[in-house]
Subunit: 330 residues, 2 copies
C-alpha cells in the first residue's frame, strides 16, 4: 500500500506525463509537494521498486509503468465532471431528437474521437442471439431476388440472390412461405442448421425445383450473423508521440484491419472496462476502454483505443455521459 504522499506523487506523475508525454523529473514536483527534489527522488525510487514507475534510461525522469497506470485507474483516479466545452459539443447530438440510437452513438463517438485523439470503435450489436421474426423475398427480375430477414430486435439483413434456372414464381412463393413458417423464432446463428435439418426435407416434399431453391436460400441465409465494426479517428490516435515510428504504426494498422482482434475487445462484463498495455493483445503502448450499453432493448459495445498515456478521467466521463443520455428516450 502507498502512503498519502506516495499516492499523491503517483497521481501527479501520471497526470503530468499524460499531459506532456515527457518523463517527469523530481525537480518539477518539489513545488507541488513542498519538499526538495531529493525527497521526491527517494519516494520515486520506492515507487519504482514497487513497480509503479519506470525510467526510460538510467538518468531520466520517471514514467508510469503499466502497473502504475493500473494502480492509478483502480485506486487513485477520481471521477470527474465533463467540462463545459466538451459537454456543449456533445449536446448538439444529444438534443437532436430525430436521431435514432445508432446514429446518436456513432455521431457521439466521432466527436469523442476528435476531442480525445483516440480511435472510436462501435461494435455492431451482437446479432447472434437475435431471433428471426420475419422473412421477405422480393423479386427484382427474372433471375434475381432479394431475401430480407428481420429480427426481433430490429436488425435487418438482406442479400441478393440469383437463381439461374427457370423456376416458377409459385415455387418460390411456396418455398418462402415454408421457410417463413419454420424459421421464425430461430436464432440467427442457428438458421443454417434449421434450414438443413428441418426445412430441407419439407421443401423437398412440396416444391418441385427444391434443389435449386434450397441452395440459393441456404447460401443467402447462412452468413447473416456477421458482426459489424466501425471505426473512426484512427488518424487521431496515430498522431500521438508514442506512435511516431513507422513500424509501430504499421503494426497498429494491421491490428485494426484484423476484425478478429477488434472483436475480442468485446467479451467482458458490463459497465466500463479498461485494458492497459499487455492486457490488450494490441500493443504494450495501447489502452482500450470499452463500454457495453443497453437502451430500448438494444445492446451494443463502444470502445476507445489509444495510447495508454490517456486522460482516463476524461474518457470515463465522456463514455458515462453518452450512456446516460442514450437512456433518455432515444
Amino acid at each position: 500500500m502507498l502512503n498519502d504522499r506516495q499516492t499523491k506523487l503517483l497521481k501527479i506523475i501520471v497526470e503530468d506525463y499524460v499531459k506532456t508525454a515527457r518523463p517527469v523529473s523530481s525537480k518539477a514536483i518539489c513545488d507541488i509537494l513542498n519538499c526538495s527534489s531529493a525527497t521526491i527522488r527517494n519516494e520515486m525510487s520506492y515507487l519504482e521498486e514497487t513497480g509503479l514507475l519506470e525510467k526510460t534510461h538510467i538518468s531520466s525522469g520517471r514514467v508510469p509503468s503499466e502497473k502504475g497506470y493500473r494502480y492509478y485507474v483502480d485506486h487513485i483516479l477520481e471521477p470527474r465532471e465533463l467540462n463545459g466545452e466538451d459537454m456543449l459539443k456533445l449536446q448538439t447530438i444529444v438534443n437532436n431528437s430525430s436521431l435514432m440510437l445508432d446514429d446518436y452513438i456513432s455521431k457521439s463517438m466521432e466527436i469523442v474521437s476528435e476531442m480525445t485523439n483516440l480511435t472510436a470503435i462501435v461494435l455492431g450489436k451482437s446479432s447472434k442471439d437475435n431471433c428471426v421474426s420475419k422473412v421477405e423475398v422480393v423479386p427484382i427480375n427474372e433471375h434475381n431476388l432479394i431475401a430480407i430477414v428481420i429480427t426481433d430486435k430490429g436488425h435487418v439483413e438482406h442479400k441478393n440472390l440469383t437463381i439461374k434456372e427457370n423456376v416458377s414464381i409459385n415455387d418460390i412463393k411456396q418455398t418462402v412461405d415454408l421457410i417463413n413458417k419454420m424459421i421464425i423464432g430461430t436464432q440467427l446463428n442457428e438458421v443454417g442448421k434449421v434450414l438443413e435439418y428441418e426445412v430441407k426435407p419439407i421443401i423437398a416434399k412440396y416444391v418441385k425445383q427444391h434443389e435449386v431453391l434450397y441452395n440459393a436460400f441456404y447460401t443467402a441465409f447462412t452468413d447473416f450473423a456477421k458482426e459489424s465494426v466501425t471505426m473512426t479517428g484512427r488518424k487521431n490516435m496515430l498522431m500521438q508521440p508514442e506512435f511516431n515510428n513507422a513500424d509501430k504504426i504499421r503494426d497498429i494498422i494491421s491490428k485494426f484491419e484484423d476484425k478478429e482482434i477488434v472483436g475480442k475487445i468485446e467479451e467482458n462484463d458490463n459497465g466500463i472496462n479498461i485494458y492497459i498495455g499487455s492486457e490488450t493483445e494490441f500493443d504494450d503502448d495501447v489502452t482500450i476502454v470499452k463500454m457495453k450499453y443497453e437502451a430500448n432493448g438494444e445492446e451494443g459495445t463502444i470502445a476507445l483505443v489509444g495510447p495508454k498515456r490517456m486522460e482516463y478521467d476524461k474518457v470515463i466521463a465522456l463514455l458515462e455521459y453518452i450512456k446516460e443520455n442514450m437512456k433518455e428516450g432515444k
Copy 2:
C-alpha cells in the same frame, strides 16, 4: 521521342526499380543492353534531361520520375497474361457460382490486394439513380418500426425509426400505403423532395397524427442515398518502403479516412484509368488504378491504391481478369 535503345532502357529501369525499390545503376544494365556502363550513362543522362528519369542524389543511380512512369504506362508497358499461380488463386472465387456479384468483387479484390500489396477499394455502386420499387414497414414493438426501401436495381436500405407518441397502427398502415403509392419509381436522391411536396399534403388530409408520422418517415428516408466505400489491405500497401516514415503513413491514413478524397477517385471515364503521383490528390508517391465495371445492369467502381512504384502490367492484367469473369453470368 525515344529511340529504340532509350525505350528499352527506360523499360528496364522502371521494371527493375519496381522490383527492387533501389535506384538502378548504369553498371547493372550493361549486361542486358550489351554495352558499357559509360554508354548507358550517356543515355541515362539524356533520359534525365527529358524528365523521364531522376536521381535521388547527385551520385545515385536513376529512378523513374512521375513523367517516366507516365511514359512507361502510356507507351511502353505491354499487356501481359496473368501468370498461372495468380489465376489459380482467383479461380476459386470465379468458379464459386453461388457468389453474388457484390461478393465476387469484394472477395476478388481482397485476394488482389494480397497478391499485389496494394490497397483495394470497392466503391459502392452509386445508388443515387436507383428508383424506389417497394417500401416496407415492419413493426418491432410499440414505438419502433423498421422502414425498408428496395430499389429497382436490387439495393436494400433500411432504417429503424422510433415514434414516441402513441400512434394507432391503422394510421401507420395508412401512411405507409400512401407513401408506397406515391414514391415508387422515384429516384433515391429525390425521395426527400417528393415526400415534402407531394406526400406531406396528402398525408395531412387522410391521417390523423400526420405530423409525427411524417417527421419520422422523413428523417428515415432522406439519408438513404449514401455511397458506401470499403477498403481492404491498407496495411499491405503501407509495408512498402516508400512509406517507411511515420509522418507519411499518418498522412496516407488520414487521406484514407477522408471518404471525400476516396470518392473523388470515381469521377472519370470508362475502362482502366491510372493516376500517378501528383495526379492523385493523395501523395506524390501514390498511384491509383481504377476501373468501372458494368454487369447485369449493375455498375460500380473498383480501385487499387499503392506506391507509384507498382507492377502496372500485373495490376492491369488482374483487373481485366476480374472484369471479364464478372460478365459470365454472375
